[in-house]
Amino acid sequence: MSDPIKSPKLPLIKVPSLVDYLVRYDLPTILEEARLDYNQASSGTPRLLNQKDIAARFRAARKPEKPAP
């Protein structure tokens, strides 16, 4: 005959500690992702150029390639 007072076996539950709630940020990785995102025209917010940068880009396009020696 089973003991009516004895409770059934319950699985052990690990009580969460403060450490489990800590979010660990990898700041160098996040910074690198943000830098790439900012500098790539195909991703993230479009990068806007000022007139000086635009002019430099066109000057570079006009520059003739150096002849082979």
Partner: protein, 135 residues
């Protein structure tokens, strides 16, 4: 360098009338030119064929046919004419696209009016060195 007697034919393409008036006045104050106006890319292509402009100022955001598409089409039959993009769009990807499609220069038209005037004058000096300064 001697100046020519005939005016330089400039095609000014912008859907905003006030912009066409402003740029036309700046150009007219700096070089002896005849300004032809178009309101969109499609009209610009047609006028390029009939008027044979020597300088084209092209806005990007326009109805019917935008400036980048018009640039590509105009370049197929006018490979050497200076085409200057004159637009308030300044996204790097668009600037790159304009370089790749053969634009000669690119001026942000959302600059302050006096700075825009300077940029336009610099552009004229670049493409018409012997003509600018005295209309």
């Amino acid at each position: 360098m001697s100046q020519r007697n005939t005016p330089i034919r400039v095609l000014l393409v912008d859907d905003e009338r006030y912009m066409r008036v402003f740029v036309g006045k700046v150009l007219g104050g700096f070089i002896h030119c005849k300004v032809i106006e178009a309101r969109d890319g499609q009209e610009a292509i047609e006028l390029c064929r009939t008027e044979d402009p020597e300088l084209i100022l092209l806005d990007i955001n326009m109805p019917r046919l935008d400036g980048v598409q018009a640039l590509a089409q105009i370049r197929t039959f006018k490979p050497d004419t200076p085409i200057v993009m004159l637009t308030s769009i300044s996204e790097e990807a668009i600037v790159e696209e304009c370089v790749n499609k053969g634009a000669s220069s690119f001026i942000r038209k959302d600059l302050r009016a006096d700075l825009l005037q300077v940029e336009l004058q610099e552009m004229l000096k670049q493409f018409f060195p012997g003509e600018s300064g005295t209309p």
